[in-house]
Symmetry: C2
Subunit: 146 residues, 2 copies
């Protein structure tokens, strides 16, 4: 853990630091990424988990529109650029060791590429796993050329 | 994405598969791990993000007590084994491509090693970052020899 995050453990509530200093101390992984959890504002439903590099995080904080790093495509991914289902940033939080980000977002429609509201739709028990939600929109429509 | 998770995108709500088959299809990373989000049951507050290997996940599903894989210590980490702040599993969900797990848990006291309820206590804005919570318990007490 960086010295800065170690130091923040003990500071008073309300302590403020420049964001640039915080970003310098984030524990980016070997690919320069951190995992990002997106949670719907108000309902607090967890919608998805994706990844950001520093450029994606800076753009997200600057524009208020959530931008991830697509590991499969190897480029910035402005959520909703092909589906229209954008995420607006309400708040962002780093965890205690600066290696995970939690976003409060306003998600338009489905967050999941399958057309479901949330990506977490396979309930996993000891013996059985169950599909617990249906698509809101057929993905063939979601990703049709517009 | 595995064939199984691809197939689950299109199956009817309520479709059931054996958990062993699902676990065989999880997209474990190069270290054999997946990221795990822990969310407090009912309040839906996101408490922490950690990692599991297959052994940790199987133990968690079998016992109902959440067990992670500690990357820093290189061993199974039964949450609360040194702090007493255990997590009881209420439900587990895999995401659409089988590479992230979301847990609903009942967390006793703080989830964070700093003594705070949640690990996500650094609110990150465009220009400034702010510490937004105080420890519930002094970590010196939390980790004192018992």
């Amino acid at each position: 853990m960086s010295e800065l995050f170690k130091q923040l453990e003990g500071v008073p509530l309300g302590t403020v630091k420049p964001s640039s200093e915080i970003l310098d101390s984030i524990a980016w992984n070997e690919a320069g990424l951190i995992p990002v959890i997106a949670q719907q504002a108000e309902s607090l439903e967890v919608l998805m988990m994706a990844w950001m590099n520093r450029e994606a995080l800076e753009e997200t904080l600057r524009t208020g529109r959530v931008c991830y790093w697509s590991r499969s495509r190897g480029k910035l991914w402005r959520k909703g650029e092909s589906s229209g289902q954008v995420q607006r940033l309400k708040a962002a939080y780093l965890d205690c060791d600066g290696d995970t980000l939690l976003l409060n977002v306003e998600q338009t429609g489905p967050a999941c590429h399958s057309g479901r509201r949330s990506c977490f739709y396979v309930a996993l028990g000891k013996d059985e796993a169950t599909v617990i939600s249906d698509p809101l929109i057929d993905p063939a429509i979601l990703y049709a050329k517009r």
